[in-house]
Each structure stands twice: as C-alpha cells, then as structure tokens.
C-alpha cells in the first residue's frame, strides 16, 4: 500500500501560500488597558514565528503594577458602565464583536498561523469561525440569563481574571471573554507569552466595536504576570486553561479567597475503536484526534485503544494515511501539520518520545522533510504501548499517538478510565447501543461518537479528575460567571 502513495510530482502540490499582506502589524505592542494601548513596565519580549524563528513583533511585559492598573480599570468599568447596562445592550456589543471577527477573519487567521505555527487551513476553517460562533452564541444569552437554570436574576461576579494557553490563542480567548461579558462581568485576560498576536488584534476589534473602556483589558507577559493577575485581591473570578501543574498551583493560591475558579487542564484521551467501526472514517478520526493542531490539544485522542482483532489493519491504514500528511509552512493552504509552538515544547515532545522508545514501544515516524529553521516534529505512532508506559500516562501535547489494544468492551472502558485525567474520549462503532452503553461508563467530560475534536458553542466542555473543574460552553458555561441571586426584583 505505502508504495503506491509515494510522494511524486502532483502530490508535491506547488506552493499555495496565504498572503500576509492583509496583516498590518505594529513593530511593538503595548498593553491594552482601559480602552487603549499603554506601555508596560516589565522588560518587553519578542514574539516569534515558530516556523521560521523570525521575530514578528515586540510585546510589552506587564509588571505587577500594570496588573494592578488593569484590574482597577476593569473594576471601574464594572462599577460605572458594564453592570449598569441591560443584557440586551451587552448582547449588542457581543454581536458587534462577532461580526467584526467575521469581517477580519482572514487577517486573524493569518496572524494566528504566523504566531502559533498552526496550519492556515485550521486557523481559517476551525479557529476563527469558532471564535465568531462563540461570540454570537453568548451574545444571544446576554438578555436571557433568567433562563440559564440559575434562578431569577442571576448576578455577575465582577472582575474576571483569565489566563489562556498558546494552543488555540484566539479561540481560548473567545471561550473566556464571551461568556464573561454576556454574564455581565468585566475582564482582565492574559494570553500566552508565545502567542499574544491575535489577542492584540482582537484588542483593535474591541476599539472598533466601541466596547466601553476597561470592560476587556488584555495584558501580555509570562508566568509571573499571570500569577500576579490570579492572585490580585480585587478579582472575583479566576479562569485558567493550561497545564495541570499550573492549575494545581492556582487552585492552591486562590483557596480561601472567595474567588470562583474554573480550571480546564490536561488530558490523555482514549479513542476507542471497536471492530465494527466504520474503518475508513475511524482512521480519519484517529488522525484528526491526535494530529489536529500538531497534537497541541488538551482533549486530543492521544491513546488509541483498538480492538485486538483489527489492530494490524487499523495501524496499517493509519500509517498509509499519515504518509499523505504534508508538514511545512503553516501559511501554505495545503499544509496539514504545522510547526510546534516553541522550542521548549519541542524539547518536551522529544524527551517523552525518547522515553517511549526506551520503554520498549515500537516507534514509527512518517517520512516528512523537516525544514531547516523552526520547530518541527513529524507525526509519530508508538505501537505496542503498555498501560504502564510513560507515553500512555503523561500528556505529550504533540503529534504523538500511543496505540494500545483491548479485547472486550469492559477492558476498553477500564483502560480508558485508567488515567488521572478525564477530559475527553472517542468511541467508534457502527452499533448505536454499544456506543451509548460504553459512553455511560466513561469518566470523561466530553465523549465523541464516530467523530473527534468537534466543538460547538452550545456544548459544555470540561473535565473530570485532574482535567479540571467547571464547564465552558453552553448554558453550563454561564454558570461559571454568574451567582444565583436567590431573590427576584422587578426590573
């Protein structure tokens, strides 16, 4: 099979790069506080393109003092403006933001791929459309909070401190900002230090939308900025998406402060393929489950649990399919696998892969030409992985799939649940009753049947166990930003 699908003239599609001329980047960006860009007091840093290692722009670094200014601006905006607006009026701003995101979709997609390294086809077809969808969805909720299941007149919490990761920079911002604003909170948000660009363009969109000053403040910086933000005494809510280690530290630091917390952390999802699965679509689902966004996905299907009697066939088809994946320039419209976001992450993926090999799993890597510059990791499968292997336990957060087998549904369920995480899972079978029976017993916040990595603003997302707590998305996502009033007022 593999010999037929060898790369040759036509499959080496001529370059089809998305033009960057639509981007009008500044040389340096300040902090977006109280409606305008201001200088930061920390030492500015560079954001680079992980595909070329070239500097894109200089980014301000928020000091503790800047965090203070931002929180004060958010508090002022909450007290004087945002909490005084009706839900319908808040909704109007959110609708306006959603439409502006759509208008500037191409620009945002290019910025995202440039700064993050993800393929343009993903930023263009997945990230940015979902960002708009999230704002549209929560815009609709803003004047219907009485029906969110929290009783009449649920109240906003106040100022929300939000810290987001680098894997879906703008989408994670939307997941946090949209429900917070719809519920009536104001926001101070910190994007990841390696991917601040799309958030800063989003700040321009907020200016264009004439969102009242201080309702959303975007501050850039590294871990200490984030720490200063979540520990700030005047924030009422902390929302974090990122690693379990940092999540744990945040949970400790806010314990006893009265701040509400939502944490969306790591995962080690099982993607369970039964022998009655639609095989070709299951193979696509496995590929999408772990190689989407270079595997930088907290809900990635990083553990393939395949029924033993179809193991060879599935792995064989998977390898054939992976041989057609195209790794390279994230801005090329035909790229399937982009760059790893940072050298640090690349080192981590390499380290864990080497451990996997040492522990005896069979390593297979797709035959890709790796560019000279930038951070890259070819799609990799580890076969014959045991449940005790490090690569079956720890989150790799890269394009690395561990293949394990099972014999019965009971064994599949036991193995799938045998992880400290519990964010997502996938089930592949043509038999509906089996899907429902298995799904019932999986301890994971999101379970996909005959698909993987599908997101919708109406669907709550979040984890069990070390994958965090609270839900984002849907009606449930509002609960994270609201308090039941327990009384009713005529308004």
């Amino acid at each position: 099979m593999t010999e037929i699908v060898k790369k040759s003239s036509f499959l080496d599609y001529a370059p089809a790069p998305e033009s960057t001329s639509i981007l009008h980047l500044q040389k340096s960006y300040g902090l977006f506080i109280d409606g305008s860009f201001v200088k930061g007091h920390g030492k500015a840093f560079q954001t680079i393109s992980p595909a070329t290692e070239k500097t894109i722009a200089e980014i301000a670094n928020a000091s503790a003092k800047d965090v203070d200014t931002a929180v004060a601006a958010a508090r002022r905006a909450y007290d004087r403006t945002w909490s005084k607006l009706s839900g319908a009026d808040r909704g109007k701003y959110l609708f306006r933001i959603a439409r502006l995101v759509q208008e500037r979709a191409r620009e945002l997609a290019v910025a995202e791929s440039l700064d993050n390294g993800k393929p343009i086809k993903e930023s263009r077809d997945v990230d940015v459309p979902l960002v708009a969808a999230w704002f549209f969805y929560y815009a609709g909720w803003a004047d219907k909070l009485d029906y969110a299941g929290l009783g009449p007149n649920p109240r906003a919490l106040g100022v929300a401190a939000q810290v987001i990761p680098w894997n879906f920079p703008l989408l994670m911002l939307a997941w946090k900002v949209a429900p917070a604003l719809a519920a009536g909170n104001t926001v101070v948000i910190k994007p990841a230090e390696t991917t601040p660009l799309s958030a800063l363009i989003f700040a321009e969109i907020l200016q264009q939308a004439e969102l009242p000053d201080g309702v959303v403040n975007i501050i850039t910086g590294a871990g200490d900025t984030g720490q200063a933000l979540v520990n700030h005494p005047d924030v009422n809510k902390v929302a974090f998406t990122g690693s379990t280690a940092v999540g744990r530290a945040i949970a400790k630091s806010v314990a006893g402060t009265g701040k509400k917390v939502t944490l969306e952390l790591g995962g080690k999802a099982a993607n369970i393929v039964f022998d009655d699965a639609p095989i070709d679509q299951a193979v696509e689902g496995i590929v999408n489950g772990i190689f989407f966004n270079q595997g930088h996905v907290c809900c990635a299907g990083s553990r393939l649990l395949v029924q033993e009697n179809i193991h060879d066939e599935v792995v064989d088809r998977l390898k054939t399919r992976l041989s057609t994946l195209r790794l390279g320039d994230p801005l090329d419209k035909n790229t399937d696998i982009g760059a790893i976001n940072s050298r640090e992450q690349l080192d981590r993926i390499r380290e864990l892969s080497d451990i996997g090999e040492k522990e005896g799993a069979d390593r297979w890597t797709a035959d890709c030409v790796i560019p000279d510059k930038g951070f890259w990791f070819a799609p990799t499968i580890f076969d014959n992985v045991s449940t005790s292997s490090t690569i079956a336990r720890e989150e790799v957060f890269g394009p690395v799939l561990s293949v394990l087998t099972f014999r019965t549904p009971a064994e599949a369920i036991a193995k799938a649940n045998n992880t400290p995480y519990g964010l997502s899972a996938g089930i592949w079978s043509d038999k509906g009753s089996k899907i429902l029976a298995v799904a019932d017993q999986l301890r994971a916040g999101v379970i996909w049947a005959n698909t993987f990595n599908r997101f919708d603003p109406a669907s709550p997302f979040g984890g069990y166990k070390e994958s965090g707590y609270g839900r984002e998305g849907g009606r449930h996502g509002l609960a994270a930003y609201l308090e039941s009033a327990g009384w009713s007022a005529s308004k």
Binding site: V5, F10, K333
Partner: protein
C-alpha cells in the same frame, strides 16, 4: 473467489457484502470536503488541467443524437482547442450503441482500435439508463456495440435486483455482459459497471455494489448514468476509490473508477484528482484507471488552460461548443 471463502452462492455473496465495514456518512463527507480544500496552483494546476482532459470520456447521450452530432463531438475530442495544438486529446468518446459506427468512422486514424495512443469509443449498453430489459436484450445490446467497434462498454446494474437483496442476479448479469464484451479475436472490450449511486441512496449500498461489481469482473466502476440526480459526488467517488484501494491491496489488481455526471468545472475536477492521488495514489491518474464522464467540463478546462497560458481570461466564445 478465494476472498469470499466459499462457493459463490447467493448466500455467500450476501454474507460477504453484508460483512463489509459500515460507512459513516458524516465522516465520509467531511473527508471529501477536506480533500476539496487543497489549493492547486501554478505548475500543479497546469499539470492537473492537462490530465483532466486526458481523462475525459467526452459524452453525448441524448435521444436527439445524430451522426452529425457525433461527428462534431469526435472533432472536439481529437482537437479540443484549435487555438493551441499542444492541448491533449480526451480519452474516449461515449455514445449510445447505434452511434458507434458513426464515432468509429469520424475518428478515422485517431481511433485507438485496441492501440494505446488513440481515442477509444465507449458505448453505453444493457438498456441504458434504466437497465429494465431482459438479460437477452442486454446481451444483444452489448454484443452489437462490440461488434461495431466499441472499445469500452458502459453497462448499468439492475438496481431493482440489488435493492431487493438479490445480489446473485446482479452478479450473474455482470458476468454475462462481460462475456458479451468478447470480440471475435478473443480479446475483450473494457467493461465499466455503472452503479447509479443516486438510486442506491446509501453509502453502505455504494460500497456493497462496488464490491459486487469488482467481484463479478468489472474493469471499472462508474458512479452514474447522468440521468438520475444526484449523479457523481465527491464523497461517493472517494468511497469507490477506497474500495478500489482495498481490492488492490488484497489482490494486486487495479480497478478503474469513473465519476460521471454533474462535474462541470475545472475546480471540481481538480478536487477529484486530489482525491484519487491521496486515496489510491497518483498512479491511478491514467486513462486506464480513472475517467471523467462529462460533456461541458472540457470547455471549462480549456478556458482555464488558456488563462494559464496567456494570463488572461477569454470567454465562452473562444472555445467551440462541440
């Protein structure tokens, strides 16, 4: 027949076809849509446009067809773009059985007549498009076209029998038609088996009918007659290519695929090329393994080709209507 692992009976066929893995419609359509987003530019596009022309079965299948119309079609097949002699020729002309002599005569020295470099004559047969006739009529229809010089026969399966679960009838008819494709010298006209996927309705049925046609000896599996909507779609073609890929892996045999009907633009046709290349491999992008059944597609490809060569868009009046 080792594949089925039993004597070929209605029961063993049924067991085999019903044991094939299911098709998830949403997943299949998503994959096809994903393949459709490939962006084919510059040199790849130039190669793709020429390849599309080489893979076209230029078709006229109307009650109103006349020898004159067929002559005109043949002239277009031989010389698709008079303004550019470097334009390749199409693979075949596809006509009704009674028009085969006209097509052969009009082709003259351009007729392949079994050689590799000429243009083939393909005839639809077996009571095309409905297939509702007795087997004797279908066989006579086929034999007549072959005797008149048809290099390829496009037959239709008995969809009624297929949907009623009578796989044996469908199988036996394909075998019989294949035998009717035998020429006096013992060689065979190529047999394309039309599934009419628009009437089979589900992807599971398309997969079953594809296997059935290949097992019965079809050289090509073809989506549609063009007389039923929907005709060819990218997901259906992808699915048929997957069957062909799996068959090749099992037996080493290469079966052709022909989407027909509804492919009108170069942009769409390029999506099919991408799907072929990324599913079964680039090797399949040759006339003996992949065809487009189309009529208006050719002119759109010619317009795109002129644009690539000259850098300007011309217009529909700069290509001949047939």
């Amino acid at each position: 027949m080792d594949l089925i692992g039993a004597d070929l009976t209605e029961k063993s066929l049924k067991l085999h076809l019903e044991g094939l893995p299911g098709v998830d419609a949403v997943g299949l359509e998503q994959r096809a849509a994903g393949l459709g987003t490939r962006s084919i530019k510059t040199t790849s596009k130039a190669w793709a446009l020429d390849t599309i022309i080489k893979l076209i079965d230029l078709t006229t299948l109307e009650g109103a067809d006349t020898p004159g119309k067929v002559r005109s079609l043949v002239a277009k097949a031989v010389n698709p773009d008079p303004s550019d002699p470097s334009t390749p020729r199409v693979a075949a002309v596809c006509v009704y059985g009674d028009m085969v002599p006209s097509a052969v005569e009009a082709l003259g020295s351009s007729w392949s007549n079994g050689k590799d470099d000429g243009i083939n004559v393909a005839a639809v047969a077996t009571a095309f498009p409905s297939g509702r006739a007795s087997l004797a009529v279908k066989l006579a229809d086929t034999a007549d076209a072959v005797a008149n010089g048809a290099d390829e026969i496009d037959m239709v399966i008995d969809r009624g029998a297929f949907l009623a679960g009578k796989y044996g009838i469908v199988f036996d008819q394909i075998v019989a038609v294949k035998e009717a494709c035998r020429r006096a010298d013992g060689t065979y006209a190529h047999l394309k088996v039309i599934l009419e996927t628009g009437e089979l309705n589900t992807y599971d049925n398309v997969r079953k009918a594809s296997w059935l046609s290949i097992l019965a000896g079809g050289d090509f599996i073809k989506t549609s007659t063009g007389k039923v909507a929907p005709a060819a779609t990218l997901p259906v073609t992808l699915l048929m290519l997957e069957v062909v890929r799996d068959w090749h892996k099992l037996t080493g045999e290469r079966i052709g695929v022909k989407p027909a009907g509804g492919i009108r633009s170069s942009k769409d046709a390029i999506k099919y090329l991408v799907t072929v290349a990324e599913t079964v491999g680039e090797e399949w992008l040759q006339p003996h393994l992949f065809r487009f059944g189309a009529s208006s597609l050719l002119n759109d490809v010619l317009l795109q080709r002129q644009k690539l060569t000259t850098g300007r868009y011309s217009g529909p009046d700069y290509v001949t209507i047939d």
